[in-house]
Symmetry: D2
Subunit: 270 residues, 4 copies
């Protein structure tokens, strides 16, 4: 059956014949393999043209910043999944990536959309970035929505990754309107939201990448791609030094059953 | 409950405190972000130490070679999933990666294990690589198992990506025993299996990476990581030029229902 | 690290010891296995107590209604995934379920929330269901949001599954305020939205189940559980009569590459 | 491109037109919705014809037996995923199902194949079930492969679910050759493997269902379908009493970092 209104049966990413593979207009084998880095290729795949040196360095910096942060929930889910299903590494990676959501890891996307909204509000109303940011932040507070990309459970004073990414953006001359917006938001938060919330890596990534010309709608791809590398490291370790079931046992032991039970029943799951 | 025999509650990838994040012994923010490429970081995460220049170039070449090959089944699954569930880009990427299996895309892992087995057989029996390869290939033929990493539905004469990766391995001085084994297998296949099957990208990746010192058990991570970049490009395009439902309609139209139906029933799903 | 504000380390679903497994207060082996149907058990797991006969029949009817509708996108994604990764049936099922999203299949959840909002608006404002429905529908039109659970690409005149589910709810004496709301919305749509959109199965499921006492927040579980049964049927067939790659080839052939290519390049992917 | 040798573009599960949906030859709306239970429908979808009463009761019993066993790894992965990505219940269910693998939960499939192999060995060699089981068990011991469906981390004396399923198969008159094989294997294990391993639910499910006429290749669907119901219960609870991040914190706290770190670095992730 025909679902929806899609009507343009085209794609512009890759085509091939038995001898040649063309990606974004380039001959993959003759001009890309061996000639460019994976980061440059990622930019090409996503943005449609090769990055300049600044863009490449900015994307590299964000991917390195977000790829790994220890035994976070998505890594635990992936390692537990591999322990149960060692025949399918792809399933364990998938289980890990499914935790790149709106609450953790996936906030790069919503944070980038928030910065765009502030930029457009400033432009539409002819007001300053500060006035536009204040207006939108007040809206978030009224709706009790969390400000995406601000605050961190561990790095409360500041998120060192965010600070470093903004410093690199300045060094490279990439920093522009989105970095300005991001810092303005951080400055306004204590008064408007009522407590300080520092920029975390998920607001730093979109502001430096949007300033570098990376597409807004592909922002979620950055943590997803980066974490895949982290997950592969963890899943290799899980094959040689397994901890998936140890973590699972500890997690289960931390939770108590408080539902009904027949008289005399004594739980003992160990 | 305690499942299995896991007993060493350790990981050696990442630790942190509020100011500092340590990855594989390095200070993430001070020494890695902005200093190394994502490919170097991937090698560090997986192998535990930073790659040298040859290793980095070899990994870059394999990631670029495998990341994208048009509207393959896994890309279709991902784009259809995003069309149905636009709220969850992570779900669409996961759906795409779940198709990196033993039949397509995931063969890097099994192909690498096959080369290792040949290497170990030659060592154990004191025979030549050729004799060992012949012995194992005959075993595959007897069990009618496909030889992992050989043959390609489109690139029948030769897979240009495989040829290029081996050339790069030679240029870099990386090519060694695993490349030799891979080419020996290709040479023996016509006689032993009964028809020519060319090395495809999934046998080229393991032989050049194993020769470069990349860990065998992380080989499946290479197509998984690379394809994530390809999927992000496709999912960005799907958001702006959707084809997920067009592809689905064409796929459904290619299949006929041949089960029972009440008399007089006329199918019409368009 | 401690993420978020979770502080009550409890669950009330299942506990056990080596001899006994307790689910929702019942002895699983002595009182449930062999005594109740899977549908009754699903209700118990989700709602916390066993259903009465009407509730059981209503849930059975919705699960049967939504489980299968041929080669829809999620089934295609699952069958393509199995063709590529036959070693992991669980991955193919997961790929299929990831397409139960906000656009197709997953609308039971949003449709149920929409009905609840209308019910609460009527109560809060002391107005009629009709007035409340009209107010919310006008809001959807202004924001150009699709009305969840109305309209169907194939069943344009009426969705026979929706009609049947409402008839069963009436026969069982289950139909109440949510069914009334659902039909009121259908009646108002032509005038407010500007064209007729019939109730589809994704609005019928929430209205009959909410009237039966099924929890709103578990509504998405109904299509997810039901489709799992459909997917298992398809994946069994895929193992014996594979069509995953045939569908993929047809889907790819329906899309043309319209990006740049080197002069003289002729695509030929067949 | 054309992958593989698929050539029969048919499916025999479902067809439709705007008024009617046909499933396995039946009119879905007129003859199935409201008339049969979800378990009967599952059998129809999978096996192609409606079950008799014994088959229906046997399938119900297995689904109820395996659906829920507390905070097992797959449930933890699902709840952590929902905590991180509350926008995508389908992603959390998928993450949970990806843990139905060869080590836990997914063994119904491999156990069923093991019983078939014993049955076929007995037939081919004209030997007794006992002799055939002994031969195959010795093969498992030599290859140090675990016997699928035997042994349980919690239920060491006996798995009460397995015992109950076999009793039901006897009561219904369903028990046949596969139940005999399963018990023979249990009896032989202490001598051949060297320690007692009781039948667990993953060997009980295939023997009772194969005896009832359920298709071998769809056995993995039983735990997958059943656990989906369990997961939906847990994900509803996670929305109202979240424990995903509590479990994650406990799991992380159970693991120590034993890799290198700069001098003076003190980990403190709490």
């Amino acid at each position: 059956m025909k679902i929806g209104k899609q009507s343009a049966p085209y794609q512009a990413i890759c085509t091939s014949n038995p001898e040649t593979i063309i990606v974004r207009g380039h001959d993959l084998v003759d001009n890309l393999v061996g000639s460019i880095s994976f980061t440059e290729y990622t930019w090409l795949l996503v943005a449609g043209s090769l990055p300049d040196e600044k863009q490449r360095r900015m994307l590299d910096a964000t991917l390195v910043a977000i790829a790994e942060h220890g035994l976070v929930p998505s890594v635990q889910a992936a390692r537990m999944t591999l322990a149960a299903s060692p025949e399918a590494v792809q399933g364990a990676v998938a289980a890990g990536l499914l935790g790149c959501g709106s609450v953790i890891l996936g906030a790069s996307e919503t944070s980038g959309a928030f910065f765009r909204d502030i930029r457009e509000e400033a432009k539409a109303s002819g007001s300053s970035v500060e006035a536009a940011a204040e207006k939108l932040l007040r809206g978030y507070r009224e709706q009790k929505k969390p400000v995406p990309g601000y605050g961190h459970p561990l790095h409360k004073g500041h998120d060192p990754r965010a600070k470093r990414l903004l410093a690199i953006a300045r060094e490279l001359g990439v920093a522009g309107i989105h970095c300005e917006i991001a810092k303005t938001v951080e400055r306004l938060i204590p008064e408007i939201i009522g407590r300080p919330l520092v920029m975390n890596v998920s607001s730093a990534i979109p502001c430096v990448l949007l300033d570098a010309g990376y597409p807004l709608l592909a922002l979620k791809g950055v943590p997803l791609l980066a974490r895949t590398a982290g997950l592969i490291g963890h899943l290799l370790e899980e094959q040689t030094r397994p901890i998936g079931f140890i973590m699972s046992q500890a997690a289960a032991a931390a939770i108590e059953y408080d539902g009904p039970a027949p008289e005399g029943f004594v739980a003992n799951e160990n």
